[in-house]
Every structure is written in C-alpha cells, then in structure tokens.
Amino acid sequence: MDSLLIARWQFAITTVYHFFFVPLTLGLSILVAIMQTIWVRTGNETYRRMTRFWGKLFLINFAMGVVTGIVQEFQFGMNWSEYSRFVGDIFGAPLAIEALLAFFMESTFLGMWLFGWDRLPKRVHLATIWLVALGSNLSALWILIANSFMQEPMGYVLRNGRAEMVDFAALIANPHVWVQWPHVFFSGLTTAGFFMLGIVAWRLLRKETDMAFARQSFQVAAVAALVGSVMVGLVGHSQAQHMVQVQPMKMAAAEALWNTEQPASMSLFTIGDMKNRRDVFAIRVPALLSILSCNNTSCAVQGINELQAAYEKKYGPGDYMPFVVLIYWSFRAMVGAGLLMVLLAAWALVRVARDRIAGPSWLLRILPFALFLPYIANTTGWIMTELGRQPWIVFGVLKTEDAVSPTVSGGMVLASAVLFTLLYGVLMAADVYLLAKYAKAAPADVAADVVPAWA
C-alpha cells in the first residue's frame, strides 16, 4: 500500500478540517471583543446580549479548532518523520514558540473569559477576551511563519545532512509571511462577518423577536465582511505577484499557462490535457495575466513547460509540474467566492446605511447560503497553496516523497486516516447541530444560560 499517498490524504483531510474552524476563531474573537468593548463603554444592553450570543457560538467553534489543532502539532513527527529530522532545526522553533507564546495565552484567557463573567471586574474580564483574540491571531502568525519557510525557505544553510537555522530574524522577516498572514487575518474577519450575516439574515426571515440585537449584529457583521473581503483581495493581489517571483510554477498551474507568454493572457475557462501539457479548449483574455502579475501589459509570465525544463536543469530529472487541474479550479473557486463576497458585503452595507435591514429581501434570502462562501475560499486557497508547491514539501530543498515516515506502514496510515475521517465526520454533525441550535435561540436566553431544549 502506498503510505506516501495515504499520508498525504490524511494530512490534507485533517488540515482542511482544522481550517474549517480556525478562520472563524480568528475573526469572531475580534468581533466579540469589539462588541463587549462597546457594551462596557456605553452600557448598551443590546451589546451585552450580542456578546453572549456570538460568544456562545464562538466557544462551540473554538473547541473544535483546539482539538483538531492537537493533531497538527504531532502529525509532523508521526507521518513526516524525515521532514521533521531534516528541517526540525528551523521548523520546530516557530511551532514551539506558537504553543508557548500564543496557545497558552488563548486557552488560559478563554477559560477565564468563559468562567469569569461574575468573578472578574468588568474591565479585567474585557481584557481576557482581547487576549484571546490576540493569542489566536498570534498563533496564526507563528504557524504561517513555519509555513512560509516551506514556501520560501530563508535563514538556513544545508549542513550536517539537514537544513540548519542560521538567521532567526530572516525566518520572521520572510516576505512570504507578510503577505500570507494579512491574507489569513482578513479572511478570518471575512469568515466571521459572513457567519454572522448568514445567521442574522436567517433569523430575520424566521421572524426575529429581538430586533435591536439583529440590527446591531448585522451592522457589525456587514462592516467586518466588507473590510475583510476587500482587504483579502488587495493582499491577495500582492501575494500573487510575490508568488510569480518566488514560485512561478504555482502561478503557471493556477492559470494553466503551459508555455511562457509575453504579454501573458489569462484563462477564463480551460479544459486542459495534463499529460501532453496543452489546452483542449480555452477562453483567454489577452495580456490580463501580465497586468495581474506585474502591473503592466507587456511582461512575460513563465509557463509550465519552460519551468519544467529550467527545474530539470537546476534540480535534476523529475516531474516538477503540480496537479494542475485541482490548482486551476481551486484558484478560480477562491477568487470567485472572494469577489462574490465583496459584492454581497457591499450590498449588505448599503442596506445598513439606508436602514433597510429588516424587511424581506433578496439579500436576506441569499446571505444564509453565502455563509458557505468564506469556507469555500479558505479551503480552496490552502489547496492551491499547498498543492501548488508540489512536488516539494520545502520548496527547492526537500521533496514530499523524501519526507514521509519510513517506518509507518501503509496499513497503519490507512487505519488512522479512515478513523480520523469517521471521527471528524461525527464531530462535525454534533458541531453543526449545536451551532444551529444556538443560532436559533433567543439572545436573552443565551445571555442567561437558559436555552430550552428543542428537537
């Protein structure tokens, strides 16, 4: 049995699943902190109910993020032991720092926030949720510092048969970190915005009883969603330009650009032939990819065939083309979902500005479904990022096939992969059940911890 393939599947399943919960934690922690701040500063009771209501959904989501994160911490050693040996000198440091500096902070202060409602002074209690938000987002930063090393290795030398760190500052200053982290940060805000918009819209369609709650929540969410989605797009643009420089193969795959073009056209729709590396059918807009890649109409963008030849020369014989079909469609799903979210968020904010949230409208009917858009974008974004780096696990340094644990058999990985998937499936059902239950509950009941049984 092919343990490499199953190990990759397991990593993909557990990581994608983990990242269902992470962005909402990142964004909603900040929004809950903001709502509580408004309540503490103004004494506005609506914001107290909002804090308790959204805080409850935050907690349910947070628990899933925490437990699936434990797997991430150990999976490198379990399934990727040769990777761990080869880059542990560098990669282990940000992971350890993440636990020490961020994870301790978010979990300790979340406990204090949850249990401290009537034990802590109001302002101290407020500080705890801000520390949760800070801890969560710092945690993302350190994980992305680790991931950025895999995308754009820096601050190391090859010595003693492994990669050794020589410059910790370079690891942090890696330009890849500073396009990737903002991208993730704002996608978290977007996710939280659309999560709230979807739930409020759904409640409004089902005859909301607490209009002040719905109105204020909608307002907070619409602002977060618009700021988030616009910024994700802007950061994403500079991220893509950076990618063209450091991982041109990923961009070529995302665009199904088989041959170098100058100026480069952008594909709107391509059916390709991966084996012969050519288009079967394609609609392309001339010069658009040049504009996106380097802000002018004339630059050259490298194609898959040329890059393959160049890499063979540099790294020796091998197949350096990633799985183009999935990357191409992931990129389109991500960008498409992103653009749709910008439009919907703008529409929502217009309704807020005109004070026309409550009445039934197309917007309210669409928003509950739009709740899935950030999840689609988050998932496909990571699929593109990680799959587009293949065959490398650390770009240009170590190949994925050389990273897998040699002593873990295919049967063992298959067993764990199947059981993880089943377990995660069951937990997802329980999670969605609880989220739906609390999303339906009256905010006043949630605030008083007396949500009646239903079902």
Partner: protein, 337 residues
C-alpha cells in the same frame, strides 16, 4: 551546563507540569461517572476543571513543540515509532476536549450520557498510555542505527510497560480524586474522599510493583547507583506521606503530595535517561541522546532566549487563573459547562 542539557531539563519540566496539571484533569474525567451520580453532580465535577483543562493540555503541546525544536530526532523517532498508540491518544484527547464544551449545551439525557462517556474514556485512555509510553522509553525499544523505530505496535505492549501504564493510571486517578475532594462540596466531596482512602493502598501496591519491575526491566537503578538520590526517595516518601494525610483527612496537603510524587517520578525518570532521550534495545550505541538528537547550537540559543522570556509570563498568568477560580464548586456556583 550546556544548552543541550538545559533543554533536556526544560522538556522534563514541561512534562512535569503537564503530568501534574493534566494528571488531575484525567483523574477528574475518569471519575466523572463514578463520583457523579446525577446530572447536577456531574456538572459540578466538570466545572471544577472548567477554566483550566484547556490551558493544562497546552503543556503537552508546548512539550511536543519543544521536543521538535530542540531535539528533532527525538520528536521524529518517538512519534513515528509509537504511531498507533499516539493515534489512539489523539483520538481520545479530541473527543474528550469536545465533550467538555458540548455535553451541557443540550439537555437531552442521552446526549449528556454520550459525552460523559466520551469524557471518561477520553481521560482513561491517555492516562493509561502515558505510563506505557514513558515505561517503554526508559526500558528501551528497537531503534536501529539510523534512529528508526523498527518494532511493531505490540512491542509496546510488554508486561513492564503495561504495569507502568496501570501505575500511571492509578496515580492520576488518585490525584484527581484528591483534587475533587479539594474543589467540590457535599456528596461528591464525601465520595471523593472515601474513594481516595480506598484507592491509595491499591496505587501503593501497583506503584511498588512498578519500582521493583524497573530494577529488572530497565537500567535506571544501575545508572542512578545504590542510593538513587533524593528524587527517587522523595517520590516514595511523598506518596507515603500522602497516604498518611489522606487518613488524617487533610486532603489539600495530600493533593500536594501526589503532585510531588508525580513531579519527582518524572525527575527520576529523566535522570535515569540522561543523557539519552530514547533507549535503543538493540544496541546501546544506537540510543538517541541529547547530542545526536539535538538541534544546532544556534537554534538552541534562540529557543533559550524565547523560553527565558515567556515561560515566567505563562507561569504567572496560569497561576493567576488558578487563584481567581480557587473557590469550591458548591450548589450555588454558576456552572458554565
């Protein structure tokens, strides 16, 4: 003292903190269904660890991260070698963590019963497996010249390791019972006290058997010498004093003694290992040590600076957390879980 030794000690400290803190969390989880006869009592039991269980678990994540950063080969060999055991542990920790958050969010009795089982089993399995894992590390497992674990899953289930597992399970359960005696009131408190009384002699027997077995199964005592040092003697003494305190009804001090027993046992284990981190049963030269498993001096320097700054901060705010929620959980307490 070199940085390699410093990091060996620091990881020992992290595991000590983890076993003391998560130890009573496991015990509380294991005893949930034993000591909590109705829903209200079970909620009280869970709420005793409500504000802290998650942060306690981060001690494990930090220990794992520190192993990865300071001794990548240790991290790689241990976790790929103990693959299925670790998978079981992770699965248990996942359902347990979710269960704390989910169980009281719906009132249906079957829902709560299900998650209560998840808490109990999810606490039992890791409490047992940690002892098994630690025993195997000191006993030695088949590690080849290339630092690869070449045994199977059943290699890990040898009698000595299983005995160590049961001893760990017993100590954690007793530790948890004492914690509950300290943090609850009424019926649950009385039951926890009675259970601690009954459990102590059993744990004493299993623990003593493990110590004796360690003479035969490991080289720990040969390495430590005829006088195994203050940590080993102290661990035994703390446990005996703990038993006496339980008889006296002084459960707070007894809890401190089980904590000390756990701490000194970890210290003794790490002292017996040093300078090895994993013993090879095939050839002593193939053991992983603080030298051949370690990161570069530069990485250890960076990590040392980070640890010196942040470990005290973490300890301070975790201590504050325990201080804020030091009161007993009584019938009047607001329950969040």
């Amino acid at each position: 003292m070199g940085l390699n030794t410093l990091w060996f000690i620091l990881i020992g400290v992290l595991f000590t903190g983890f076993f003391i803190l998560e130890g009573f969390d496991y015990g509380v989880g294991i005893l949930l269904r034993v000591l909590g006869k109705n829903d209200e009592e079970r909620r009280a039991i869970i709420n005793t660890i409500g504000p802290v269980w998650d942060a306690n678990e981060v001690w494990l994540l930090t220990a794992g991260g520190a192993m990865f950063a300071a001794f990548p080969n240790w991290y790689a060999t241990l976790f790929s070698g103990f693959y299925l055991a670790l998978f079981l542990m992770l699965a248990a920790l996942i359902v347990r963590g979710v269960a704390f958050e989910f169980r009281s969010k719906d009132q249906h009795p079957r829902w709560r019963d299900l998650w209560d089982w998840a808490i109990a089993v999810g606490s039992f399995v890791p409490a047992l497996l940690w002892g098994v894992a630690m025993s195997n590390i000191v006993r030695g497992v088949p590690i080849d010249a290339k630092m690869q674990y070449v045994g199977g899953f059943f290699n890990l289930l040898n009698p000595y390791a299983l005995l160590g597992g049961v001893a760990g399970l017993g100590v954690f359960t007793l530790h948890g019972a004492l914690f509950l005696a300290l943090r609850t009131d009424g019926e649950v408190r009385r039951r926890a006290e009675a259970l601690a009384n009954r459990l102590w002699p059993i744990v004493l027997i299993v623990g003593a058997a493990t110590v004796v077995a360690s003479y035969f199964a490991t080289d720990i005592f040969q390495r430590l010498g005829v006088n195994p040092g203050i940590s080993a003697l102290g661990a035994g003494a703390a446990f005996l004093i703990g038993g006496w305190l339980i008889r006296q009804g002084r459960f707070g001090w007894a809890f401190a003694m089980t904590a000390l027993t756990i701490a000194l046992t970890v210290v003794t284990t790490f002292r017996g290992l040093y300078p090895r981190v994993m013993v090879s049963s095939l050839n002593p030269d193939w053991s992983l040590t603080i030298t051949n498993a370690s990161s570069s001096p530069y990485t250890l320097q960076v990590m040392t600076i980070v640890a010196l700054i942040f470990v005290p901060i973490v300890l301070a705010y975790q201590a504050w957390n325990y201080w804020v929620f030091r009161a007993r959980i009584t019938g009047k307490s607001a329950l969040k879980y």
